[in-house]
């Protein structure tokens, strides 16, 4: 998983930078919370592809209200549809952003909502299909004002 390595490297670099200016480094459990959540969702399954299109601004002024559109290429039939979509934050105080449960009554696997972003990070989206396969996509975002003050 190259994406995980990249985030870990970034986390390592951030910790090093913080150490240089004398702040407390990130605690290991904070860095790993999103990985535990992702592992729990995957439940031993492998990600088989990245067929998800994410609409997320590269830079957000206000991290408290960030629009996110998620689109998975799916016919949304009874036999072949997206069942669940999970949104995971890699550097929010809590990794759980939210989980959609879709049904074949929907015409498309396309949803929009608004999310909170505490600081610059990567957002991970996992889509579970009706046949059990899992897709993953990521997007990077920078915020001017963090959105986790409540």
């Amino acid at each position: 998983m190259t994406i995980e390595r990249r985030i870990l490297l970034k986390a390592g670099a951030a910790t090093a930078a913080l150490a240089l200016v004398g702040s407390a480094p990130l605690r290991a459990d904070e860095v790993n919370a999103w990985q535990d959540w992702r592992d729990q969702i995957l439940d031993e399954r492998e990600v088989v592809g990245d067929g998800i299109v994410l609409g997320l601004p590269a830079v957000a002024e206000n991290g408290a209200q960030v629009p996110l559109t998620i689109r998975v290429d799916s016919p949304m039939t009874v036999d072949d549809h997206v069942r669940t979509i999970h949104i995971i934050a890699t550097r929010n105080p809590a990794p759980e952003i939210g989980t959609f449960h879709l049904t074949p009554s929907l015409t498309r696997a396309e949803v929009m909502t608004r999310i909170r972003i505490a600081e610059e990070q990567e957002i991970i989206v996992l889509a579970e299909l009706s046949d059990g396969r899992v897709l993953q996509q990521t997007a990077s975002i920078i915020v001017s004002i963090g959105g986790c003050a409540t």
């Binding site: 759980e96 959609f100 449960h101 879709l102 015409t107 949803v111 909502t113």
Partner: protein, 101 residues
């Protein structure tokens, strides 16, 4: 406070795609970095003619005044119920009908 708003077309042909937009006024206080007590919605459910068609489980990263857009295949009679359930069990409901012919 917590007034739900839903936007749907007034009418549609059976099988036609309709866009659903929902919004509810809610502060979604996680209490992670404030002294205010936690005040969060737990989930949102949309049903069409009594059948669940779309649900969402709110995590701490869900924004205040939650909004959703999604797309449905209209089926007669076109009776919709939208329910936001708070973590304390309180329900906020909206009911709408689309004339499906």
């Amino acid at each position: 406070m917590s007034t739900p708003r839903v936007r749907l077309p007034r009418s549609a042909a059976a099988g036609e795609e309709i866009e659903v937009r929902t919004l509810i006024d809610h502060p979604m206080i996680t209490a992670v970095s404030s002294d205010d007590p936690r005040d969060m919605l737990a989930n949102f459910t949309a049903t069409m003619n009594g059948e669940t068609v779309f649900t969402y489980d709110f995590g701490n990263g869900s924004a205040a005044n939650p909004t959703f857009t999604f797309y449905l295949r209209a089926a007669a009679p076109g009776d919709f119920t939208f329910v936001w359930t708070h973590e304390d069990g309180t329900e906020f409901r909206a009911e709408e009908s689309v004339a499906v012919s």
